[in-house]
Symmetry: C2
Subunit: 360 residues, 2 copies
């Protein structure tokens, strides 16, 4: 039995409530498999700004780097919205991604069979959808230089950013995506805007080259505007999607709606070798914070992804996922996924947690 | 009676077929109101590349500039896909937009009641949706400098683009959007990514400032990722959306799917004073070109928009729109919008055109 060092970042809003459920579930699931966890709690986001003035204190990054993996709940809230953007909670998120070089953001868009009716899309279109979006997370326009404000040749004030990718950056994310596709449906769709942008032309060229090493994976290419459309027209077309930082941000949020709710969607941001970041796709939901009504399941599923990808204890992941399935099958629903129907019951966050433990 | 000079660009693929229907319908509708049109046919896109080597010949741009408005069908096709991107049909489109300074792209996303069932979204969510997307069309990352290929400090090959907006650029598109909102539901949502990008921070700041002149319009702000989600979760929330070039490209294609088909969606790209460009949202559909099965209605509705915005002959626009409604009410459907149902009939492109004439 090894002790897995987990850096725990509860963050803001509903973060602490859902993290509480997830760590408890993780501890119990681990104990059944003889795995132990050591949790180091650190500050990030608004909570860190309040306590230290910085959205990502040095200590947090240092602890994260020494851990086997990072479990992050959510950051941000109205309270910090008025701060200049360089000091806002989001910066903490971007900084820890960059600091850990967590370049590959894996966002599954799965429509759980128990919830296929909550999708805004017709049931027959979304039932069985299982897409994995692989988003490049530490490059592109989010981090490109130069950026800032200035004046143009006419003396007008401008704001500008640079969207840029290098060959090695595209190559490493492409490899992650091809490897993932190989283990799944063996189809990869690369999404860019190469009919307009040079950064996309380089992207496409490199993806094609890397694809030569994966002849068993069927590679296709789609412009981002068309992808945004096809995701609605025929979501089952997609197996794995690989795309850049900003397109991935947009597409994964759009795709998350196929499930009708963000409440069950985890994500993993992995680096090559170092600790990855595991967090739910949803945000900190400040409007419902502290009311014990948040949905902890995406956080629990993020912990499961952590066990699978970074800690290599898939059996613990299996246990966590099975327990989530069991509570859903039992008809338990937090407010965000509740619809009055025979056999379903509205429960609080802590109650969902307690039921989950029973199934572990 | 004035003679309206229209520069007609049939372009590629299904372009010539649908343009044929649209110009005939326009001539007839105009004659009922005592309006005459002079059509000047010019080359653009693949057809222009084949004939002149350039996707936008100088003569086409010159003719467009001397016209009252430009009617464009669609460009592109497999045939030209292998060309280096600087010589591809899309460049003709970007060049005519820039050449005419057609900075405001208006894309209505309306779900026609006759087709509410073709939407991938549930009927109750999309019925009555009426969104106008105002997309900035001649700036942002599509045109920003510097752009191209190079090497970074590590000697790795890179591709890069610049996303940039100036205050006057944002101001003029914001005014178009506020004016449009004022004439409609009086709600404007500005979409950007100001939690990450400086170009978006400038955008948001200018939109807020311009908004002071429109106290009767309710202004809201949304990040692009959230907008991509809300468009599915609750499309009726939106009245007018204003956004930059690339976000508008993505969002308008996503929104077009609310209608279930691109077959009925027109667009207008207007400049301040000069001729605007009117074109369907759909593409050149090379796979069905020449088969007389394309849907000409979005092209006809684009001609109607032209009458309304550039030519100021709203009665002709009314006639065209009424005729489109009439053929849909009569159950006529081209393949793209056909679903077997009592009272509907599958027709060819030319047949749709002939029926349209009867209702004019
Ligand atoms: C909060 C924000 C900076 C972040 C992003 O844009 O990456 C979020 O939207 C996400 O997708 O994790
Ligand atoms: C063809 C392409 C360059 C164009 C764009 O991206 O603007 C198209 O997608 C559109 O939206 O009109």
């Amino acid at each position: 039995c090894k002790v897995h060092k987990v850096c725990v970042l509860p963050g803001d809003g509903i973060g602490p409530e859902i993290m509480d459920v997830a760590t408890k579930a993780l501890t119990v699931a681990g104990s059944k498999e003889g795995e132990e966890f050591e949790y180091k709690y650190c500050l990030i986001g608004g909570a860190a700004i309040d306590a230290t003035g910085k959205p990502l204190p040095d200590e947090t990054l240092a602890t994260a780097k020494e851990s086997d993996a990072v479990l992050l709940a959510a950051i941000g809230g109205y309270k910090w919205d008025a701060l200049p953007s360089a000091q806002r909670p989001e910066r903490g998120l971007l900084a820890i991604r960059a600091g850990l070089n967590a370049f590959a953001n894996l966002r599954p868009a799965i429509v759980p069979r128990q919830l296929a009716d909550s999708s805004p899309l017709k049931r027959e279109l979304v039932e069985g959808v299982d897409i994995l979006i692989v988003r490049e997370l530490v490059g592109g326009i989010y981090f490109g230089q130069p950026r800032g404000f200035g004046t143009n040749e006419k003396g007008e004030r401008i704001g500008f950013n640079t969207d840029v990718y290098s060959e090695p950056e595209v190559e490493r994310i492409a490899r992650v995506a091809f490897e993932a596709a190989r283990k799944r449906g063996k189809r990869l769709c690369s999404v860019e805007k190469s009919n307009v942008l040079e950064v996309s032309q380089l992207w496409k060229e490199v993806v094609i080259r890397v694809g030569k090493d994966y002849p068993d994976v069927e590679l296709s290419h789609m412009y981002i505007d068309n992808a945004a459309m096809q995701l609605l027209r025929n979501p089952k077309y997609f197996d794995v999607i690989v795309t850049g930082n900003i397109f991935g941000d947009i597409l994964s949020d759009e795709a998350s709606m196929l499930a009708g709710s963000l409440g069950l969607l985890p994500s993993a941001s992995i680096s090559g070798g170092g600790p990855g970041i595991y967090e739910p796709v949803h945000g900190s939901a400040p409007d419902i914070a502290g009311k014990d009504i948040a949905n902890p399941l995406a956080m629990v599923l993020s912990a499961a992804m952590m066990c699978r990808y970074d800690l290599s204890i898939p059996k613990v992941a299996d246990r966590l996922e099975a327990a989530v399935n069991a509570v859903l099958d039992a008809g338990l629903r937090t407010g965000d996924i509740y619809k009055e129907a025979p056999g379903t019951r509205l429960v609080k966050c802590s109650e969902m947690g307690a039921e989950l433990m029973k199934h572990l």
